[in-house]
């Protein structure tokens, strides 16, 4: 069965800390994504990666960076956590499919990050 695993379900950090959110998928998917989910705002794309060592900014990349050293792992990094980064973070993966089709996303269970 398809599996996207996020390392922590809940995380509490202090302002200014460097935070790593890890995501691993076991489906050999090329594409991986990081979204954050806030009430009333839906899911907003932070970064995505379509291959190892490749990354592209989403709609809200400020304050975040990513790392994709291996195909199965996609890490989200908060260089200096701030209180406005308190949110639910969702990782997702998909196969690339030739345009105009796009493969569905498989999501992890999410990490609820609180920055105090």
């Amino acid at each position: 069965d398809v599996k996207v695993t996020q390392s922590s379900r809940y995380l509490v950090k202090r302002t200014g800390e460097k935070v790593f959110l890890e995501c691993v998928q076991d489906m050999d998917h090329e594409n991986m994504f990081w979204y954050r989910q806030d009430p009333g705002l839906g899911l907003r794309l932070i970064y995505f990666s379509y291959d190892v060592k490749m990354k592209e900014k989403g709609d809200i990349p400020e304050g975040y960076s990513v790392s994709r050293e291996k195909k199965e792992r996609f890490s989200l990094i908060l260089e200096s956590a701030s209180t406005n980064q308190t949110s639910m973070y969702l990782c997702a993966s998909s196969f690339p499919v030739q345009f105009p089709l796009n493969e569905k996303l498989f999501f992890g269970s999410g990490t609820q990050l609180s920055v105090l």
Binding site: G40, L41, G42, R44, F48, D59, L105, F107, G108, S109
Partner: protein, 111 residues
Amino acid sequence: GQQVMQIPQYQHVQEGEDFTTYCNSSTTLSNIQWYKQRPGGHPVFLIQLVKSGEVKKQKRLTFQFGEAKKNSSLHITATQTTDVGTYFCAGFRDSSYKLIFGSGTRLLVRP
């Protein structure tokens, strides 16, 4: 940038009533996907629509893609308590892997 708007934000219905959520994009979409997120869960893929004017059904759920490929709707007939959750539409920018989500419609069903 491209925005995908969804209405209503909340809908509270009596079990057995119908429910509809609407999704509107500021630009033409290459295709649209719908996801359901149960309370405390993560989004799960429901369906994808590609063609202009396309209509697809899954049991009590009917999905439509507008003729201009800028809007979509999800209609649930005779809601059940198992339909509770937040429904998201999501659209792709042309030739892009970027999937842009709507703000979601949260459905509550009174038994």
